[in-house]
Symmetry: C2
């Protein structure tokens, strides 16, 4: 009666190569896009990655990547993996709780319907995205699901900052490379 | 770089007491409400449970309960737990994939914004709910989050059946009992 979700074996060695802090959202996103590329190059999941950072200091807490197919778990999206590993590392289900610095999630594409809904529960105070939802869908064949029509406003209403279009072109180039790779696209049958 | 989410120790013995099949949605929901009560009585999580059944035969695949606080994981809602354990048991990320019978998720309350978004990815073909979102919020203090304004229609558009109001009063009674218990309500600070 338990489930275990793991990041791929290559993640820790890749993290060990990185500096501890990333000053700008562009530097943070560049690493996230790099991880999104590694995940499909190594065939360890879909072309999606998310990083959790301290918003103000730029300290990297962890990266997460999509693990749906290898984990046999439809919820193992990059954002859920990153948030869950960060919460485990910090020992709290609420990254915005008392005594925590403001945390930021940096994602290579617009969050899908599920991951959008996961953001308010996670306690992150800032969301940074690159590719738009329609670009993710057109370039990869993955479905974004029934995303809330006012998703940015809904997060902002809850005092969660949303910064879009950061390295959007670079993220789209990576998604397009996945699209050309002919790898598995799951749950596209009703998309 | 991994996370493990577990159902409480009392779940397996409780499942062992049950019949293998439940003919009607009311019988299925009655068990789900029972599990939602057990979860807060045993102080093993919030007052939420979800069951995964074969829609037509009524075979019970598994129950899940809310594990956010004990797991330090904001995504460990009852629906995510139930879907993930069922997917592990059946060895697939897609409960609606080839060779699978139609699966149904039965939930004691309207799914929150995240769990709504998780449903299309899970492959279930049917959703059964009891308490409405505003009732969950009023009776427990938990927040449903930014749920899609047309959530039922969005699921139906994807060929997912939605049956609401099954044992709604009984589910509300259980939620009200939780509300009177004075137990922790997390992430209510912006709700």
């Amino acid at each position: 009666m338990e489930i275990t979700l793991s990041l791929p074996d290559w993640v820790q060695p890749e993290l060990d190569k990185l500096p501890t802090h990333f000053a700008t959202v562009e530097e943070r996103m560049a690493q996230v896009i790099h991880f999104s590329r590694l995940n499909f190059m190594y065939k360890t999941g879909g072309p999606f990655a998310a990083g959790i950072f301290e918003r103000d200091s730029g300290k990297l807490i962890t990266m997460g990547v999509n693990r749906v197919v290898p984990s046999s778990c439809s919820s193992a999206h990059a954002e859920i993996m990153a948030l869950s590993v960060a919460q485990k590392k910090l020992g709290t289900f609420d990254l915005g709780g008392e005594g925590q610095p403001a945390h930021q999630i940096v994602i290579n594409g617009q969050p899908c319907a599920m991951c959008f809904g996961a953001i308010p529960w996670s306690g992150v105070r800032s969301v940074v995205t690159a590719a738009h939802g329609y670009e993710v869908e057109a370039l990869t064949g993955f479905d974004e699901g029934p995303v809330h029509p006012n998703w940015i406003h809904e997060l902002e209403k809850r005092d969660i900052e949303v910064i879009t279009d950061v390295l959007r072109k670079e993220a789209c180039n990576a998604l397009a490379a996945f699209g050309r790779s002919g790898q598995i696209v799951y749950n596209g049958r009703l998309g």
